[in-house]
């Protein structure tokens, strides 16, 4: 079977002239149906931009997005419509992702009616109630009459998921979908998303800056690490978390604060040579991580951008110097 989503050399530039920045730089990956892929990286590294291009909400500067093996730019209008509905997005901010002037009823019935998923208003409302139950918003009858601001952040995020479910998507880009939700309810939303994976065969591209979350959500899936618009490493979650190869991945993993005093004590501290992330306006040549990398090899790393090459343990690493080396995260 063809991957449900594949991107090839996807590139996005913003701005004109001197202000021009490359937010996403020749990113390639493929996602099979049923897989869960996490895109991680620090803020501004191009995760959301990639996600929005995958969902067809932002036009790529170059490169292509393939939906079920076909370039979305070459789809017939019918096929494009199917793509549009099959691929949905869930945003980070539960306070700006729902229209404050509409009730939950309005929000959910509009797509149902527009795409003839329901014959009339009554049927649409019945279906909306069902979907609210799916996302664990109960009692659904109370919720449906409310306005977004009458719900908590977690509940709003569930409404956002429900809204995406109205069009029976098979692929959901979840962009920091739980980052702004309180810790105590985060897990229940993740559990609900995980259930959608199983029950409705939804494939997830889960974008997050939180590696612990990525590890939990994509334990059976894959993680892709981005740095300044490029993929620096990807691979099966369990390999990437336990045996990271790219120096940036290692730095990231070692920097994550741990919610466990003993782990916090025993975490290896990787010292970087520089603390600041370079600006996209003045990217260093070669490997963009080289000004900070503890393993920097002058004359090699700062000359040519290292290619993303496969490793036998699974996944790809963009660092010829350290591709083969193991580093323990605990000491």
């Amino acid at each position: 079977m063809a991957p449900i989503i594949e991107v090839r050399n996807l590139t996005k530039q913003f701005g004109k002239g001197k202000e021009r920045v490359t937010a996403v730089d020749a990113v390639s990956f493929a996602i099979e149906p049923g897989e869960t892929v996490c895109l991680v990286g620090e803020s501004g590294c191009g995760k959301s931009t990639t996600g929005r291009m995958v969902a067809g909400l932002l036009e790529a500067t170059s490169g292509e997005v393939l939906f079920e093996g076909r370039n979305i730019k070459q789809l017939s209008s019918d096929a494009f419509r199917r793509y549009r509905q099959t691929v949905q997005i869930i945003h980070q901010d539960p306070y700006s992702s729902l229209n404050p002037t509409q009730t939950i009823r309005d929000i959910l019935t509009a797509p149902l009616l527009r795409h003839h998923k329901a014959k009339n208003r009554a049927a649409a409302e019945a279906r909306a109630l069902e979907i609210l139950e799916v996302v664990d918003l109960t009692p659904a009858r109370d919720v449906i009459a409310k306005y977004p601001h009458q719900l908590s952040g977690g509940q709003r995020q569930r409404v956002a998921v429900a809204r995406a479910l109205t069009v029976d998507p098979k692929f959901i880009v979840a962009d920091e979908a739980v980052s702004m939700v309180d810790v105590s309810i985060r897990v229940s939303i993740l559990t609900m998303l995980a259930r959608l994976k199983k029950e409705f065969d939804v494939t997830f591209l889960f974008i997050t800056h939180d590696l612990a979350l990525a590890k939990y959500f994509a334990w059976e899936g894959r993680i892709t690490v981005m740095y300044l618009g490029r993929i620096v490493e990807d691979g099966p979650t369990q390999r990437l978390i336990t045996d990271p190869r790219h120096p940036y991945t290692q730095a990231l993993l070692s920097a994550v604060p741990e919610a466990d005093p003993e782990l916090a004590q025993h975490k290896r501290q990787i010292e970087l040579r520089g603390a600041e992330i370079p600006s996209l306006l003045a990217l260093p040549p070669g490997c963009t991580f080289h000004p900070r990398c503890p393993y920097f090899v002058p004359g090699q790393c700062d000359v040519a951008a290292p290619p993303l090459e496969a490793i036998p343990e699974g996944g790809r690493v963009a660092c010829p110097v350290r591709r083969q080396e193991h580093v323990s995260l605990l000491v």
């Binding site: 509905q85 997005i89 945003h91 992702s97 229209n99 509009a110 809204r163 995406a164």
Partner: protein
């Protein structure tokens, strides 16, 4: 049943919210009072057309609340009768200009590209034409014997500033995630403009409408005053204009004749402008569900 109830509920909530700002609510009450007097008043208070030479230029009294004019006619009855046309013309102008501004402003913002360029081009051209002189010149060619035309005409020329404002509002709303979600759900441009963008600009639109209304009153009165539009029926503008041409400002006694229509206009404008404070509250969706 259900409909009546929900309309009733809507009205009740709106009223309640409007009371949250005292000045605004007073403005609302005053506006309502003026509207009632101008629209219903004429049925109860006959227009005094009889010349009474023994009663010319009287100051306000129990009999003549606003005094009398140069022919001894009651000014109050003229004020009551003279408001309807002014308000009618202003309302038509305001409706038309708000409608054009909102529709095309949001469309320009949302569609972008050539459509945006086209709409903004036309807007800029109209914006650079000096409106009052244009109206004056046009008035020389067209006779506005039908006041509806006058309203449409004023409306057709006064939308550009509002359109620009609406467009920039819509541009910032467009970046909000719920609009992107609507795009992902393929809900269509019509839905996005009228269900997602416009309701979020409602407060803004309502306030712009009231401002357009007051602006149209002034333009209209100005045109009449300069005698550029020969509107036949009596209205506040015509009253000022007549008083003016008959040299009312030179007679101390004639003060009431010229002051009363000016006061009527000023009071109406003031009421409408203060009312906007309450409108701001009434159209805020967040407050709406809190009461």
């Amino acid at each position: 049943m259900g409909v009546i109830q929900s309309v009733w509920h809507w009205l009740a909530t709106t009223l309640k919210l409007m009371t949250y700002n005292k000045a605004g609510f007073i403005g609302f009450l005053a506006t309502t009072a003026i509207l009632i007097v101008c629209l219903i008043g004429p049925f109860f208070i006959p227009l005094d057309t009889q010349t009474k030479l023994d009663q010319i230029y009287q100051p306000p009294s129990a009999e003549h609340w606003f005094g009398t004019d140069h022919q001894g006619r009651d000014i109050f009855s003229q004020i009551v009768h003279g408001g309807k046309d002014v308000i009618y013309v202003a309302a038509i102008a305001a409706f038309l200009s708000t409608f054009i501004a909102v529709t095309f402003g949001t469309l320009a913002a949302f569609a972008g590209g050539k459509i945006d360029g086209g709409i903004m081009g036309v807007t800029d051209i109209i914006l650079t034409i000096p409106q009052f002189p244009l109206l004056a010149v046009l008035a020389a060619f067209i006779t506005f014997d039908n006041i509806t035309y006058l309203g449409l005409f004023l409306g057709a020329l006064s939308w550009p500033a509002l359109l620009r404002a609406v467009r920039s509002q819509a541009l910032s709303l467009k970046e909000r995630d719920f609009v992107e979600a609507a795009r992902a759900l393929d809900l269509g441009t019509g839905h996005i403009v009228f269900r997602e963008l416009v309701p979020n600009m409602m407060t803004y639109i309502v306030i712009s409408f009231t401002l357009a209304l007051t602006a149209a009153v002034y333009t209209q009165v100005g045109l009449v005053l300069l005698g550029l539009v020969p509107v036949s029926s009596s209205n506040w503008g015509v009253m000022i204009s007549l008083a003016w041409t008959q040299g009312a400002i030179f007679f101390r006694d004639a003060m009431w004749r010229i002051m009363m229509p000016i006061l009527a206009i000023a009071l109406f404008q003031l009421s409408v402008i203060t009312m906007t404070r309450s409108l701001e509250l009434a159209f805020n969706p967040r407050l709406r569900t809190m009461v």
